[in-house]
Symmetry: C3
Subunit: 154 residues, 3 copies
């Protein structure tokens, strides 16, 4: 099974709710194509690793570019995507960072056509506090419909 | 992009959790066809605006009637619907009301047939406190599979 | 309509968040096939009743066995399942136990094929506190695509 922390521990309810709220804003920014504001929810050298990516995306500039690219693709396809995080577990690492493991859904809706479940994923984030807010230092996403590949970053 | 508030700000964790709990009860009432109890979670003159509605529904009586109508339609179709809110952001407006922007899913299950994703929506609510509880003063729903139309109420 | 408590009452925000966190860990354990750890989130004589089960499953050993069986079936089918709880309402019973009513989704993803919405369910749990944590004393699941059958356990 996964090596990800399955326990939800040493985290206050306040911090747990803060993580829920962080992801809500994070996903609204992503789905609205707010590239820079979304990238700013990562650390300056934050990484994003996912099966569809040839290599990990590293740093806010590259993260923002990847979202602009994705938004343009969805625009061209006439589709709207919505990202949902749920079943969130949060554990504190020995270095004080937060290890989050949660489920992630992507829904896709073509204009005029039926909405569909696009992806079911597991998202493993390392969150750190910067400037009073939470930031994603590393993200590792696996897709349930694809074999899990070895982790390369984070 | 949307003009809706994307930031989740000036709201305590307690209030954020209260909004989560409000929507859970609100949706159970809706999906159980509890028309009057559901309508009572709106203000007396509360409004509901959605693409499928020719005009905004205004006031508890009309809101309850609309739900009875929908429940009868689902009963006739032999379908059960479930409404989910998630990725909830809450901001305080200058007038003290709460501006909520969240995602809303509708799942449909015909008896004996496969369940399906029915709708993917964005819900923008204005919530106010009345009699100790939260109430919906206005709701504006957009469907991801339909063009966004100009807002008429709220 | 359901006789389940629809109100979310007499429960602190802290306890509500604890229930959210409990279900997140509970579902990660279930979906990872962690049979014993998942069964340990029930009371020793905990019961699980669902339409697909000929009779209620009772006790941790039987609960763990049922999950191992399900995990083997999914493995053979090359599918991954993810369970989501949402729209959670929590009420305190006269005996001090917690009566939870929430929605439950199951997503299924065959390796190499499209993910799909597998089930839409309503889950009614009675939760009690044991050894500092919450435990499921009884679970009653109904599927939206099947007629509701009379309750046999719990």
């Amino acid at each position: 099974m996964s090596n990800a922390p399955l326990l939800d521990s040493a985290v206050s309810d306040q911090l747990y709710v803060e993580v829920q709220r962080f992801y809500a804003v994070h996903m609204h920014l992503l789905d609205e194509g707010e590239a820079e504001r979304w990238a700013a929810t990562f650390t300056e050298d934050g990484t994003f690793e996912a099966p569809a990516l040839d290599e990990p995306v590293r740093g806010r500039a590259a993260l923002a570019a990847s979202i602009r690219h994705g938004a343009a693709e969805r625009e061209a396809a006439g589709e709207v995507h919505r990202h949902w995080h749920g079943m969130i577990t949060v554990a504190v690492r020995s270095d004080g960072a937060l290890a989050v493991r949660c489920y992630a859904l992507v829904f896709a809706s073509p204009k005029g056509g039926p909405s569909r479940l696009h992806r079911v994923c597991v998202c493993e984030d390392v969150l750190v506090r910067e400037g009073g807010g939470l930031r994603v230092r590393s993200r590792y996403v696996t897709r349930d419909d694809m074999p899990v590949t070895a982790r390369r970053a984070g």
